[in-house]
């Protein structure tokens, strides 16, 4: 039994309506320098519209490139782990270590190596999205049905054939589950990178949040956060759509 279409659209819209009502009520009682009213945020969007749009594009490009780098390295790493158990044992602990690396600590290093702004944001986005891609791809490649693996080996298939025909297609639902997590994380990663590594040229969402904080312009901060949320949502939907295209038809996990 499927939910009627209008309810599927109405439900999130109703949540938004109630949330904005509650927000308005709360902001009437709290100082505007701590919590801006929805109207103040709308005004900030109006007066900083061009900057916000440019900053969203810059941050979006950094997050996207970071996600691409993380995907290439994560999937490549998973293939290496699948190929060599020794490589897996040798490298996996350090992949885990990468995940715990605070960007704040290495931002000066990234600035010295690559310069201010987008390079730090890309590096930071790649750093935080790498691990979910690696683990999901790794788990996916390892999840092939042992009987099917045994059958392929009986036919003396090569490692590459086993990957191409069996393990890689079978890993896609796992991979896309990891990619959906990584898609949201890459936006956060890019913004954190911008927090510590941007000098405002080009303008980006992390810089605008900082600028709003320094100028006590809470409206601008919330507008920038809103743009970041839109960005993360767009990434999530793109990855989910891609997942549905590639695996949705034969696996229920593709579009979850």
């Amino acid at each position: 039994m499927s939910t009627p279409r209008w309810i599927r659209w109405l439900a999130p819209a109703a949540v938004a309506f109630v949330a904005i009502l509650a927000w308005s009520a709360a902001s009437a009682r709290i100082s505007p320098v701590l919590l801006p009213s929805p109207l103040a945020v709308a005004e900030a969007v109006g007066s900083h519209g061009g900057t916000l749009a440019a900053a969203t594009l810059t941050t979006g490009a950094s997050a996207f490139l970071g996600l691409v780098v993380a995907s290439l390295l994560g999937i490549g790493g998973a293939l290496v782990f699948q190929r060599s158990a020794i490589a897996e044992r040798a490298l996996y602990p350090y992949a885990l270590f990468l995940q715990t690396l605070p960007v704040v600590a290495i931002a000066p290093l990234l600035v010295v190596w690559l310069g201010y702004g987008p390079p730090v944001a890309i590096g930071s986005a790649a750093l935080v999205s790498f691990f979910p891609v690696l683990t999901s791809a790794h788990a996916g490649l390892a999840a092939a049905d042992p009987d099917q693996v045994a059958l392929m080996r009986l036919y003396r298939s090569s490692w590459w054939q086993e990957m191409r025909l069996l393990r890689v297609p079978g890993s896609l639902p796992y991979l896309f589950s990891g990619l959906r997590t990584a898609a949201g994380l890459s936006t956060i990663g890019a913004i954190v990178g911008e927090f510590v590594g941007s000098n405002g040229f080009p303008a980006c969402l992390g810089y605008l949040v900082l600028k709003g904080m320094r100028a006590a312009e809470t409206g601008l901060i919330f507008a920038a956060i809103g743009c970041a949320a839109l960005l993360a949502t767009a990434f999530f939907i793109s990855v989910r759509t891609l997942g549905t295209r590639l695996v949705g038809r034969w696996h229920p996990g593709g579009s979850a």
């Binding site: 100082s31 310069g115 590594g197 040229f201």
Partner: protein, 320 residues
């Protein structure tokens, strides 16, 4: 975004911004990149005036100013060749030198440390000593940072005054008349005043935490044109203090947070800190040793550390 735009973006990102090298070489000027340790603000006004007023080109230097931000590893940029002049603070320079960074301080933009505490004029404490006698005093500050460590140690605030993290916004200050927070005289007090708050600024220098700020640093040993850069900087800052309008307009163009009112407020507020008691650009050994001693006191430098060799007087040096 099209694939072409993405590639262009990567290239732009990787090239580290436009370079003025070819133009400089054509005109016979030495190309010098100056790395700021914060966003473009009036605390760097004299450097912008140096570019706009031709003070640097007059001594054969083609200066490009690179803005910084929260994480501006300016002294490290000297080593990588991405900058030839680094803006830093005297305490930071001494710390980094013990970590193997080869740099020397050569000209202080700020005689007095622009750091301090910001309190409300009417309801706040009159000075540092008065804070301890308040009931349950709280100070929003970089917890565990050198300034906090120094204040608590020097004033015996351990267990008396509670340090709470400072998030970078003056919002909580505006909302609470009892709020005490760390501040730079070049930033938070003017932002708070623009929002109608009456502010009193307690100078860190009055508490004994007084390091030269906006300090020009070169690689160690300094390049042959260093004395010329210092002389032009002294001239440019003198001109800026007299007539800040041109440089401030450029700062406003680069950093749109700097509204006209804010620019005027900061330019006025920073003046006594730039000049101090000894005047623009002065450096004394006692001041450097006091900074070294303060860093030893908070445990950031090993006992017995001095500032020997960390700074160089170039104002009277003959031109190269």
């Amino acid at each position: 975004m099209s694939p072409v735009a993405i590639v262009a973006f990567i290239l732009a990102a990787c090239s580290g911004g436009p370079s003025s090298m070819p133009a400089a070489e054509r005109s016979g000027l030495t190309s010098v990149k100056v790395a700021l340790n914060w966003f473009p603000e009036p605390e760097f006004g004299g450097f912008y005036e140096g570019v706009l007023g031709g003070h640097y080109t007059a001594v054969g230097l083609d200066v490009e100013i690179i803005p910084g931000g929260p994480s501006a590893p300016t002294l490290e940029l000297l080593g990588s060749g991405r900058a030839q002049v680094a803006l830093t603070a005297a305490d930071d320079l001494l710390l980094k030198r013990t970590k193997g960074i080869r740099a020397v301080g050569a000209w202080p933009g700020f005689q007095l440390n622009p750091l301090g505490l910001m309190v409300h004029e009417g309801s706040g404490p009159a000075d540092f000593a008065a804070i301890a006698s308040m009931t349950d005093p709280q100070v929003a500050i970089e917890v565990g940072g050198p300034f906090q460590t120094f204040l608590w140690k020097r004033h015996g605030w351990e267990g008396v005054v509670q340090a709470v993290p400072y998030g970078g916004s003056v919002g909580p200050f505006l909302a609470d008349p009892g709020f005490i927070q760390q501040a730079y005289v070049t930033s938070e007090p003017c932002v708070a005043r623009a929002r109608g708050a009456a502010v009193r600024f307690l100078k860190a220098s009055d508490a004994g935490w007084n390091h030269y700020g906006s300090l020009v640093a070169f690689a160690d040993p300094p390049p042959p044109w260093a004395a010329r850069f210092v002389a032009a900087t002294q001239q440019a800052w003198t001109a800026y203090l007299e007539q800040p309008a041109r440089a401030n307009a450029e700062i406003a163009r680069l950093n749109d947070q700097m509204t006209p009112g804010l620019l005027d407020c900061v330019t006025e507020a920073q003046r006594p800190f730039v000049l101090g008691q000894e005047g623009l650009g002065a450096m004394r050994d006692e001041r450097w040793e006091a900074t070294a001693a303060a860093l030893v006191e908070v445990g950031l430098l090993p006992a017995g550390s001095t500032a020997a060799g960390a700074w160089v007087e170039l104002r009277d040096a003959p031109p190269d």
